[in-house]
């Protein structure tokens, strides 16, 4: 765990990915921009998280559930055939093998345990494609918590099977009909709903975004990825990792894996979808309780993201990423939809791993930049954030359309 008992101004101490300041700032970003009605819940959550994260009985249970239920540690797989093709040495951290098929489970296991510890018996969550929703429904079922998931109406139609999956797990899925009827609006709606039920309900946010303490807490709960990977690479005899590459929607899988290498001489690279590129096309702004980089028009209206992958279909990015980008510690690049399908095919064919479309963005960047941004001979860790099973129907349609 990366918990620091003393929370410093990150920029002062010159260590990266330690705790934010008392108000949840990572440099100029972060904070807590929520209606007064939610402030007490955020403060309560902050206290509860700090307390739990320091409590060995909590962290022990958290790690035990990750191990016995969620399948951690996930392996690090050397991608031999792709490495040979590209002239760089690639290892993949296999979050696709975690229960429910992505890194999302790490976070929800932690947050649902925290929900119980806070004496609440219900969680709400937002979801885009449904990965975080399925993960939340899963962790809730395990603990017998009630669970309601907000999902843009368009997404409930596109991802009808994931809706059914959540229902099988006992969750109620509420289609959100406001705004663009996708992820951004699902977050709005979950926040609105949370106002009405903060007493007995925890909002189980799905990425390193939202008001403090969410970005910090979710990063901490995902840091297990990077901590494991650093050790596993050592065990595999890799002494100097040149680069870590991860896709970025809100940024939780990236933050989790970066956390293991933030203070090592390793380049940290986040890959956004070109149509949801908050670092590349965004500017500072305030949305969903945080100050961060956002895609917005000249009057500060938030723009709708568009990406082939629902999980990257978000106009913002977690505030710590905004800070890492502006401080230069991490770099962010964008990949367009057209390169993503090809990357998914290449990884499937060469390594026998069908990645999620989100993850395929990071793969596409490796294919594109090997020998350019990534010097030949480099050693690279790819965070394989999820499996592509949820996406194959969509990919099939797209490839059919191309013929």
């Amino acid at each position: 765990m990366l918990f620091r008992s003393e929370r410093n101004e990150v920029s002062d101490s010159h260590t990266f990915m330690s705790a934010p300041d008392e108000r949840g700032h990572f440099g100029d970003f972060g904070g807590r921009f929520v209606p007064e009605a939610l402030m007490p819940a955020c403060l309560e959550l902050e206290t509860a998280f700090i307390d739990a994260w320091r409590d060995p009985s909590f962290t022990t249970e958290y790690r035990q559930v990750l191990r016995e239920f969620a399948g951690r540690p996930t392996p690090v797989t050397p991608l031999d055939r792709l490495s040979e093709q590209l002239g760089i040495r690639i290892f993949a951290k296999r979050e696709d093998l975690a229960h429910t098929g992505s890194h999302k489970i790490n976070n929800v296991v932690g947050q649902t345990l925290l929900t119980k510890r806070m004496g609440k018996h219900r969680v709400i969550a937002e979801t885009g494609a449904g990965q975080h929703g399925v993960a939340t429904a899963t962790a809730s079922a395990r603990l017998g918590l009630e669970c309601t998931v907000y999902m843009g109406e368009i997404d409930t139609e596109r991802q009808a099977l994931n809706v059914f999956r959540m229902e099988l797990l006992g969750a109620t899925v509420v289609p959100v009909t406001s705004g663009s009827r996708t992820l951004k609006d699902a977050v709005n709606e979950a926040m609105r709903e949370w106002v009405t039920c903060v007493d007995d309900t925890h909002y189980c946010l799905g990425s390193v975004m939202g008001p403090h303490p969410f970005p910090w807490m979710v990063r901490e709960m995902q840091s297990i990825i990077g901590i494991e990977a650093a050790q596993q690479l050592k065990d595999l005899g890799v002494e100097n990792l040149d680069m870590v590459v991860a896709c970025v929607g809100g940024g939780s899988n990236a933050a989790g894996v970066f956390a293991g290498f933030a203070n090592a001489p390793t380049r940290l690279v986040g890959i956004e979808a070109a149509g949801g590129s908050a670092v590349g096309k965004g500017s500072p702004g305030v949305l969903h309780g945080m100050k961060s980089l956002l895609m917005q028009d000249e009057f500060g209206q938030i723009e709708e993201a568009y990406s082939i992958s629902a999980g990257l279909d978000y106009p913002g990015i977690g505030p710590e990423h905004a800070y890492l980008a502006r401080s230069g510690r991490a770099e962010y690049f964008a990949i367009g939809d057209s390169d993503v399908i090809h990357a998914l095919q290449v990884l499937s064919l060469s390594e026998g791993i069908i990645p999620a479309l989100e993850t395929a963005h990071a793969v596409a960047w490796l294919l594109q930049e090997a020998g350019k941004e990534i010097p030949l001979g480099s050693t690279v860790l790819l965070n394989l954030s999820g499996r592509g099973d949820k996406d194959v129907a969509q990919v099939r349609e797209i490839l059919r359309g191309q013929r």
Binding site: P35, V286, I302
Partner: protein, 255 residues
């Protein structure tokens, strides 16, 4: 003391309960006439909702209205220009989300508001912890910062919010976003808690949708804010007459 607060304290000292209707700027081409009709019917101040794409504190009615206003091309610039055409002179209070001002620039925003006749601002997603830049920018422009107090606000926080509030203190009647509600809510308790620590005028809002609810609220508060119910009238196609009738019915009920 900012001029809005001076004005509203003076109003209170006359014994009159403040009626503050809420409009979504740019919702219809004649929205300025709606504002004028409300003033004509007895509004003491008007909330000017500046539409935002992602109104986290608003229910479906105001969300829908904001979306329509945005689709009609409403911007901070356009609505401020329209405010200059207003023929009435009650206090105007801007209500919007922080990103609008943040993106436009804080100095630039407060300057714009002031020059458009706005003397107060409610920014529901800007808590005092994050408000210092905004408060600095608004100080030199005589824009009063109105904070909301929620039923969930604990005592220590409540004191701080009440003390920081300028103009009036916004007592949220319920744990909910804007929109109709039939229950009477916790406005009374919130107002009493504010009164215990501050003598600032205190208005109840969130879920006041009938004249009866308004009257009940005014038994304890210094005024009421009426939002979604009025916006609904306009969404239903109501014109200035309907606005006038609507506001009149509330006015009668609280006088």
């Amino acid at each position: 003391m900012k001029s809005l607060e001076t004005h509203l304290r003076a109003l209170r000292s006359t014994g009159r309960k403040a009626l503050v209707p809420y409009f979504v700027a740019g919702l219809t081409p004649d929205w300025i006439q709606h504002v004028e009709a409300a003033v004509h019917a007895g509004a003491d101040a008007v909330e000017i909702g500046i539409p935002f794409s992602d109104p986290m504190m608003d229910g479906v009615v105001i969300q829908g209205a904001a979306l329509r206003a945005l689709e009609a091309g409403t911007t901070l610039d356009s609505l401020c220009a329209q405010l200059l055409t207003l023929s009435t002179s009650v206090p105007l209070i801007a209500m919007t989300y922080y990103n609008i001002f943040h993106h436009y620039g804080l100095e630039r925003s407060t300057g714009k508001l002031q020059s458009s006749g706005v003397s107060g601002a409610i920014v529901p997603d800007l808590p005092p912890e994050e408000a210092s830049d905004w408060m600095k920018a608004s100080a030199s422009r005589d824009i009063a910062n109105i904070f909301m107090v929620a039923p969930s606000t604990p005592p220590e926080r409540l004191g701080r919010l009440a003390r920081l509030s300028e103009g009036f203190c916004y007592a949220s009647a319920r744990m909910a976003v804007t929109g109709k509600s039939s229950e009477s809510g916790q406005g009374r308790r919130v107002v009493e808690s504010i009164r215990a620590v501050s003598d600032i005028p205190t208005y109840i809002g969130i879920g006041i949708s009938t004249p009866n609810q308004a009257r009940e609220a005014c038994e304890v508060s210094d005024g009421v804010i009426v939002g979604s119910a009025l916006v609904q009238v306009i969404l239903n196609g109501g014109g200035a007459d309907d606005v006038e009738n609507f506001v009149t019915s509330f006015r009668r009920s609280i006088d």
